[in-house]
């Protein structure tokens, strides 16, 4: 299903849609309160954008530098051209781990948040191959129990109410029926997941930033699930998209100051963990993934999207995301940023996403790395149209309108007819859902007697 169809489904429950809208707007407001006290915040955004510009323009050399330094640190570095190769590499690392190789019985893995592994569909692949995968971020655990994808990259279960979570936990964790207190539900998850952390053979994490000069990587969480998992398991696998690189440790300061403030309005995440060398007797692996990123690097109009640090600020501020929900995008990364990343992956499947925007530009205004998101949305629309992926109604509607706008006489007559028609015709006809989708949830204003053009020619001073 395409975005408008899925959005319509979500928006059917009016009260829930309103609640979703308000909840995300509240996060946007928290973001504003967190950035206003920082006088240099706008300067930091510019710096972050420039650091990413530089890194992308020298990415091959930084990748090599990162690999060399990571290897010196005793970390094994792997390269995956696409999602399938990424999944295979992860499975190989698991099967060849010294404490697992040749062992029978279940293999247990704990995972902290990684949008990349969602993008590669790692979980179902590992489960099919006999690995028990437990997502340990609370929001991700909730959606994993429900067999749903995350609906937001920072708040994976933001589409659910506490009653929904209560039901899910009652079913999977045996919490009392009707328990919906977030404190009690979180405590139940804590107890359940502590056991999973202790039992795990392998811990997998994402990567927020990778530092070329030291071969280190940084993982940010509020719950502490990345560090708990990694430090209790024998093997740590970190999966990163190649665009996560930054040149030096000093650049971390810019990004750490921006990330949590933009994401949730916190001054910093509770844990900002820097991994450089594995603990003695343990293994650390890094999987560097392309999966369409080099292609995006080559598209000068859309290259900027690779600067994204996955804060989710563009989702929280987007009037379309807030009222259509993350699942309506049907892509790993929803919202405005997802709508400019997805067409690079599959233009046909995601052809409606660049239109899931009012082009108000709020996404670009809040982006901590100054991606010109709304400009790219507009540019993707041109590509969608050129590739003949527009729905017929839109395509011929646009063509017809373009013709009419080019002929002043026809345009003037059309305006006249429409103004009288709106006055004369019954409401049921002017607002017929099939004919006028614009008026589905909106009232049209009263039609004026004359057009502005007519009024102007009568009133202009000689």
């Amino acid at each position: 299903m395409n975005h408008p169809a899925l959005a319509e489904k979500f928006a059917k429950d009016f009260n829930r849609t309103t609640w979703h809208d308000e909840t995300l707007w509240f996060v946007r407001q928290k973001r504003d309160r967190a950035i206003y006290p920082i006088p240099e915040f706008q300067e930091l955004r510019t710096l972050a954008s420039q650091i990413k510009d530089h890194t992308l323009s020298n990415l091959d050399n930084y990748l090599l530098q990162f690999e060399e330094n990571a290897r010196k640190n005793g970390v094994k570095v792997h390269w995956a051209a696409d999602g399938e190769e990424h999944n295979r590499i992860v499975l190989d690392i698991i099967r060849n781990a010294p404490h697992i190789k040749g062992r029978t019985g279940p293999i247990k893995m704990v995972k902290s948040k990684s949008m990349l592994t969602e993008e590669c569909h790692l979980n179902p692949f590992l489960q099919k191959n006999g690995v028990e995968v437990v997502d340990t971020d609370l929001g991700e655990r909730i959606v994993q129990f429900r067999n749903e994808p995350p609906s937001h990259i920072v708040m994976p279960a933001i589409h659910l109410k506490k009653e929904d979570v209560g039901e899910t936990f009652h079913e999977h964790l045996g919490t009392p029926k009707g328990e919906k207190d977030p404190q009690a539900l979180t405590e139940a998850a804590r107890q359940h997941l502590r056991q999973k952390f202790v039992e795990a053979d392998i811990a997998l994490t994402g990567v927020n930033f990778a530092v070329a000069e030291t071969g280190s990587f940084v993982v940010c969480t509020n719950e502490g699930n990345a560090d708990l998992g990694v430090n209790l398991a024998n093997v740590h696998i970190a999966c990163m998209g190649m665009e996560k690189l930054i040149p030096k440790v000093e650049h971390l300061s810019v990004f750490i100051r921006l990330l949590a403030r933009s994401a949730t309005g916190q001054p910093v995440t509770t844990y900002t963990s820097h991994f450089t060398k594995p603990a003695e007797g343990k293994e650390m692996h890094i999987v560097i993934v392309d999966n369409g990123r080099t292609q995006q690097l080559g598209r000068s109009d859309f290259r900027n999207s690779l600067k994204c640090i996955r804060c989710g600020a563009c989702m929280n501020t987007c009037p379309v995301y807030r009222r259509s929900g993350g699942h309506s995008y049907d892509f790993t990364v929803p919202g405005p940023i997802g709508a400019i990343l997805s067409p690079n992956i599959d233009l046909h499947k995601y052809s409606t996403l660049p239109f899931a925007s009012t082009l108000c530009g709020s996404c670009s205004d809040v982006c901590p790395v100054k991606i010109d998101i709304h400009v790219q949305l507009y540019k993707w629309r041109q590509v969608v149209s050129k590739e003949n992926e527009l729905p017929a109604v839109k395509k011929w509607g646009m063509k017809g309108l373009a013709k009419m706008l080019a002929m002043p006489k026809v345009y003037n007559l059309g305006g006249k007819v429409a103004r009288s028609a709106l006055r004369i015709l019954p409401h049921g006809m002017t607002h017929a859902k099939g004919m006028n989708p614009w008026a589905k949830a909106r009232e049209l204003p009263d039609a004026p007697k004359q057009s502005f053009k007519e009024w102007y020619s009568q009133n202009k001073k000689p």
């Binding site: 994976p156 109410k161 502490g224 560090d227 300061s253 820097h274 603990a279 080559g298």
Partner: protein, 187 residues
Amino acid sequence: MSSREKILASVKAHKPALIDLPVIPAFEGDGSIEKFKTVLTGIGGHAIEVSSKTECQQVIDTHYSDLKNLASTLVKATVEIDTSTSKDILEQVDLAVVEGVVGVAENGAIWVPEANMINRALPFITQHLVLVLDKTNIVANMHEAYKKLDTIGNYGAFIAGPSKTADIEQSLVIGAHGARSMMVILY
């Protein structure tokens, strides 16, 4: 050609012409103890000032007398922890008291390097966490913090307050997977 070579060749072919790396100016800010304490309180932590490091024991005795398994190299420990301690012992730790090396006033974070953690898992698996910090090591912002650290070492973390989540309806809950409470003793 391996994926590594393929990816590197593709990056080389697709990247734009070299763009300069900007210089990060010296950003200044309020690096006061007061600011640090205010921000830390705002994120669910709590700070106590003492006049010398030796008073830590007294603070722990006063505030945490009800906790049984205490791991530390700074105050009297009741459970021995080292780098090879097993998971089932780590799991029983009620309180860990370890030393941080740099505090950041703008966000309440404290850098804890691996060497001070005793065991890499300890600051995360403990039920409650106390970080001890020399108050002259508080800096204004992250730029100054990284400058003050000679190295980020093998492993280390900025820890800012107790473990938390807002994943259920955006309601803030303290004590997700990590420490349920976090206190900082400033000496």
